[in-house]
Subunit: 234 residues, 2 copies
Amino acid sequence: MKQAVCLLSGGLDSTTSLAIAQASGFEVYALSFRYGQRHTIELEKAADFALARGVKRHVTLDIDLRAFGGSALTDDIAVPKPGDEKAMSTDNIPVTYVPARNTIFLSFAMGWAEALGAKHIFIGVNAQDYSGYPDCRPAFLEAFERLAQVATKAGVTEAGQALQIHAPLIDMSKADIVARGTALGVDFAETSSCYDPDAQGKPCQACDACLLRAKGFREAGVVDPLLLKFGLTT
Amino acid sequence: MKQAVCLLSGGLDSTTSLAIAQASGFEVYALSFRYGQRHTIELEKAADFALARGVKRHVTLDIDLRAFGGSALTDDIAVPKPGDEKAMSTDNIPVTYVPARNTIFLSFAMGWAEALGAKHIFIGVNAQDYSGYPDCRPAFLEAFERLAQVATKAGVTEAGQALQIHAPLIDMSKADIVARGTALGVDFAETSSCYDPDAQGKPCQACDACLLRAKGFREAGVVDPLLLKFGLTT
């Protein structure tokens, strides 16, 4: 059985990406990060999801991206709400962007893949709804794959591709993702997308991530079970 | 003053690389990692060195590469001595190779550089004495620089190069490095290169790293002050 390392944040995208890896026949090693994010409910969701889906192993690594700062997700910068002047930095990139986050995540995934002898990594980024993050674009994923080719033992000693980065959601809209995840049995009531949830995981329904999620469910014609769980309406 | 993030392990190479960055006029932000290495004397040396050189800031990040395994430097695999059958894995790459280590280190350095607005990273790898590690080769550094071009805000919003990876030791022999570091006032008595030192930092004089260091000092015609400090001879 082919092995894959799947990045798992506990949100809509990464859970669906992992479910796609399993549906494609991969034995999954799930990888999450406690990176100094302001809320950790998504990590509880990630752990529950990994267990529920019967992955081979789930590892949550501690890495402290707060040491560097530069993001509303890790700093004491307020998470922006619609209409906030501060939602975008001057260069039109959201303040919720965390410098180098996906590069760091993929680097660890590459390390684990190499230790396992796995040739596949799944990451749940999508370009259509990427919200302006530089490290959610196809060009970024291609550059990382080229890096992996020279950065690993397999790239040096074996012919062919050292490591394949799968981003099965890359061309999907949030509506596509909702539909695909639902079809694969992902329990979206037990996922967390909000940048600013309460301690129980109740979404704020106002941040970019909540709005994008709501739009996805609306366009997919599906009621978000997370809202039902908290007695919320769209 | 131009800013640079300098990777600093506390060994011969990274201390010399940092000294070169300073001599080139950069304001230095030094970055070290507690990554599950079996000995931490090198981290004490890194902190002392950063202080002695008056860097702008020194950050030591905790990342646990032991979670994945796959290396004699982080696992309970014996560090090989010359003549050991196990010194090389079957594919001729040393067992002391840590999967994805330099990729992970550079990814964090990129994140810090981006948060600072710095455009330069220094890493003390050298190709001549690289001991077979895939991630110490020029091709790897070039691939990382190309990745940085698309992975960061600067790569998206600005013309020109997002980030420059400097590897000033890349074409040097260990003898060259010893000579250059000595000329720049690096106190090599307070560096640690050994894979298996005792708690006081006394080198084993038998591992690959010790042998390479000894060869470098011998060829540079310099007595290693670290040996003098411990009353050792070559």
